[in-house]
């Protein structure tokens, strides 16, 4: 039985820029230790850590708790920087948290970035081979995969050209075709999969639905509320790294829409 259980998950990470990147300046700043506090309007709460004036700690998630059991289709909503993507990355195991309990049963697959793990200098075909290697596929399966992705992404001659030459739509097609190959028990999706032209979208929808159907748990973030209404059985509304509301789709989305309407973005 696939399930996800989060208890008091908090995550803060440093945003390094400017002189905090320099060992010399960090050591000097530590000696001086001047502290100024700032707060951000968008995104997680920020605090400037005491020992170096340029290290900004962003509290991306604070005390997030929920549990999701098999069969649930969960949507994540919230404004930009509310912690949706961070949460997906935590669930996918890309970010590790030191605080709280994270208990995940079942394999996860995250569609976070269409070009995840792709190398722009490699051709589409070579990227597929690399992907197959990552998944530990056999030679026969790799060839099968190559054919499948080639037909689906419909890139024609571009398939054998370096990915960096692709238009953004083209690389989404390739990334989409690849990312939708695994059949994980827990599927995590970011909203990028809605990209592409109309003809591709129809094709993509069928493929994605196949994947979603096979997954025991789906977690998706999107700003397209209509899609969430269609797909999800439950919505978690994130705000400043915290769960603001968690409940059945219509209930949460109605409240969310009302809140968004009041405060113009």
């Amino acid at each position: 039985m696939a399930h996800i259980r989060l208890e008091d998950i908090s995550l803060s990470f440093p945003v390094l820029h400017g002189s905090s990147r320099s060992l010399k300046k960090t050591l000097l700043a530590r000696a001086k230790s001047t502290v100024t506090a700032k707060t951000g309007a968008v995104g997680g709460r920020m605090r400037v850590s005491g020992n170096s004036s340029d290290v900004v700690e962003v509290q991306a998630l604070s005390n997030v708790s929920f549990s999701i059991s098999e069969g649930e289709r969960v949507g994540l909503v919230g404004h930009n920087g509310a912690g949706k993507s961070t949460l997906l990355r935590v669930l996918a195991g890309i970010y590790e948290t030191g605080e709280g309990t994270l208990d995940i049963e079942g394999d996860t697959h995250a569609l976070i970035d269409p070009n995840a793990g792709m190398n722009g200098e490699l051709t589409g075909r070579e990227n597929i081979q690399l992907f197959a290697c990552r998944m530990g596929m056999t030679k026969a399966a790799t060839q099968e995969l190559e054919k499948d992705v080639e037909t689906f992404s419909d890139l024609g001659a571009f398939f054998d050209l370096p990915v960096r030459l692709y238009s953004s739509g083209m690389s989404v097609r390739l990334g989409f075709a690849l990312a939708t190959v695994p059949r994980p028990r827990i599927l995590l999706m970011d909203e990028w999969f809605m990209a592409g032209d109309q003809k591709f979208q129809d094709k993509a929808k069928a493929r994605l639905e196949g994947m979603v159907d096979a997954a025991e748990i789906l977690i998706v973030t999107s700003h397209a509320l209509s899609i969430l209404r269609e797909w999800c059985t439950r919505i978690i509304w994130m705000e400043s790294g915290e769960v603001r509301m968690d409940g059945p789709t219509d209930e949460v989305l109605d409240a969310y829409e009302a809140a968004v309407a009041v405060i113009p973005a």
Binding site: I9, F13, P14, L16, R21, S22, L23, K24, T26, G93, I94, Y95, E96, T97, G98, E99, G100, T101, L102, D103, I104, E105, G106, D107, T108, A110, I112, D113, N115, A116, G117, N119, E121, L122, E126, L130, C133, R134, M135, G136, M137, A141, E144, L145, K147, D148, T151, F152, T180, V181, P182, R183, R185, A206, R207, E209, G210, M211, D213, A214
Partner: protein
């Protein structure tokens, strides 16, 4: 809702389902670092492949490919050999084989391994941030990449040996365990410098500058015998034993046991430092790059 396409169904059966229950926050940092290493071992093929791809990409579109490296180092050895044999009043026939081997071992071996270990995680930025893969996989990639470059460069001293009719004999086989030690040190360098350089971007140029100094104080273009009675001071240079355990066998000599002892001891200390720093920094690394 539609059914998945048949082709992807095949892929579905082949893709291994990772039936793992992840309890990430509960495991200690050391346990998680160990899990990282286990996962790297499982995916070693991918590490090797990434290393190969780096080389292929670096030389894509050039007909000679990585043999450009061979040509540049041949030119370097030839010009420096003629000049320095004159400066040091040495026979070209004794100096050139030594120099060609030393330069290759340093430039394509130790120095490049250390310098590239600095950007180990930075270069893999996109992958680290979007795909869940063990971090040590990128260390394997750097070591594999350097091994490939090394194999292309070692042709130059071999050519010089052929020209001067030198044959190191069976002693040369002793260079193999020493090169394995280098590979392990390379992994450790990735763990230590890779994470440090991700956090502090000025460390990489600092290491580059230090390597330049090490190049001159280590017997690479000059021979240890030239120091005369002061040669024992060289034992305080950790790079000297490390270099010597590979160079001596390839020149047909047996390296002193003492050199192996020091090389192993310094490596062991280096590993402990590197592993400890990796355990501490591993979870934060993704935020630094």
């Amino acid at each position: 809702m539609s059914v998945p396409s048949p082709a992807s169904d095949v892929a579905r059966d082949e893709a291994p389902r990772r039936q793992t229950s992840r309890d990430t926050p509960r495991g200690s940092p050391a346990a998680r670092a160990w899990a990282d290493w286990k996962e790297t071992q499982r995916l070693w093929r991918l590490g090797v492949r990434l290393g190969w791809l780096d080389i292929r990409l670096r030389y894509r579109g050039s007909a000679l490919g990585p043999f450009w490296l061979t040509i540049t180092s041949a030119l370097m050895v030839a010009s420096m050999g003629v000049l320095y044999s004159r400066l040091f009043h040495m026979q070209l026939a004794t100096y050139l084989p030594f120099l060609s081997l030393s330069l290759t071992l340093w430039a394509a071996g130790l120095s490049s391994l250390i310098q590239e270990s600095c950007t180990c995680f930075l270069d893999a930025e996109d992958m680290v941030r979007s795909v869940q893969l063990p971090l040590l996989l990128y260390a394997v990639r750097v070591v594999v990449r350097n091994a490939i470059v090394f194999a292309h460069n070692i042709v130059v001293p071999l050519g010089v040996f052929v020209i001067y009719h030198l044959w190191p004999g069976v002693n040369a086989l002793l260079a193999i365990p020493a090169l394995l030690l280098w590979a392990l040190d390379g992994l450790a360098a990735c763990m230590l410098f890779g994470s440090l350089c991700a956090r502090f971007r000025d460390i990489s140029p600092i290491i580059g500058a230090l390597l330049q100094i090490v190049f001159y104080v280590t017997p690479i273009i000059w021979m240890p015998q030239q120091l005369g009675a002061k040669a024992s001071l060289l034992l305080y240079n950790p790079f000297y034993p490390l270099l010597e355990i590979v160079r001596e066998p390839l020149l047909g000599h047996l390296p002193a046991l003492e050199l192996w002892g020091i090389a192993l001891a310094t490596s062991a200390i280096f590993w402990v430092v590197a592993i400890r720093s990796f355990i501490r920094t591993r979870a934060r690394l993704v935020f630094w790059i």
